[in-house]
Symmetry: C2
Subunit: 225 residues, 2 copies
């Protein structure tokens, strides 16, 4: 009998005898979600077979049907889990202390750091966005909330005169562009350009750079000579 409900909490029976790497200890459902996140982001939805997922998770072919009901349901559960934390980064920066520009700086830098370290997440997002004509509500929510959060931050700065004029929604979109694009191209770019530093160090250099770039573009022009 298949179990279609995903919301059940106890998925902790039947452990493996020894601690194998990606295998079924810590829960088969957990291992499936983890493998699915990696594979779906790399090869896309259709490009990833249930057989590939279960093999990577060290589980049986039937495990996906049993634990999630279908490939689609596993994909949705994985998407929900990986996309939810993205908004937290911006929310944290918004709630922090400082001027709007300082908080925007933190938001851009923090977001790029987070996405750069977890590239599956922006990849899945972009995949979803560019695949379907009107993306999944979950994806829409993620995109929208981040955009609106940044917009309100921009508006706050415009009100107190620290941020220049301009459509706040478009400015928010500009702010989002760097983290979104750079986090996706970071790895291939790193391999392509043969940087001597490793990928993490490049990200450490890239994140403040992008935040500076964004903040400078928002500042009011100070009247010179």
């Amino acid at each position: 009998m298949t179990r279609t409900s995903v919301a059940t909490t106890s998925v902790e029976k039947h452990r493996s005898p020894a601690g194998s790497d990606t295998a079924s200890d810590r829960g088969t459902a957990e291992a499936l979600l983890s493998a699915a996140g990696r594979l779906f982001a790399e090869r896309g939805y259709v490009g990833t077979s249930i057989r590939a997922i279960t093999a990577a998770a060290g589980a049986n072919l039937g495990a996906v049907t049993y634990h999630f009901g279908s490939k689609q349901a596993l994909y949705r559960a994985m998407l929900e889990r990986l996309l939810a934390p993205i908004g937290d980064e911006i929310r944290a920066a918004e709630a922090s202390a400082g001027t709007p520009l300082e908080r925007i700086h933190r938001a851009v830098e923090g977001l790029l750091r987070y996405l750069g370290r977890n590239p599956e997440r922006p990849r899945l997002l972009l995949q979803e966005i560019s695949t379907s004509p009107l993306p999944d509500p979950l994806v829409q929510r993620t995109m929208k909330s981040n955009l609106l959060l940044l917009r309100s931050l921009v508006e706050e700065g415009q009100r107190d005169g620290s941020i220049r004029e301009g459509d706040p929604l478009l400015l928010a979109l500009s702010l989002l562009s760097q983290p979104a694009h750079m986090s996706v191209v970071l790895r291939p770019l790193h391999r392509m350009m043969r940087f001597q530093e490793d990928e993490g160090v490049l990200l450490d250099r890239l994140a403040p750079h992008a935040a500076d770039f964004a903040v400078r573009a928002l500042e009011v022009r100070r009247e010179g000579s």
Copy 2:
């Protein structure tokens, strides 16, 4: 007998009797390339079947094998055709008259306009980049040449003092981020946010905005009071 060579020029025999829409007049190979560009960008490589392509092109199932040899070869031919013109936009702006900042403005605005009007192109690019660990040489060349073109433009401005200090390669990457990201999210964003203006008008507003944003981030800070 299958024909594996793609470089042959005369593919103009055997027309359809009447002018059907996407059908096989103007050449079956041409119709296949066109349909392939649209479908591959929307659904990805594995998500697009030869049957879907040939049906959309109004051609027979065997047409892909006959004209291109394989699905892979069709994909490559389509990629080559769609990716090549991307660099031209930046090259044109680079070769135009004006200060480095003016030319960068033109490059960003022009690139965003071009990609926004042809969203299959950046979609295919990002798809290729985020799919494989090290992308196809053709894709690498496209990405690299645009990046280096912008970098040399930045360096020129830094030499004459009109552009602030900073790693020119990272600055070039920042410049590329907006057109790359915005052109991909434009359509879903437009649908999602329910803009009253239509998509083309939004792009007309977005392109100068993004170019301004980029140029402001590059300007040297003028010392105020």
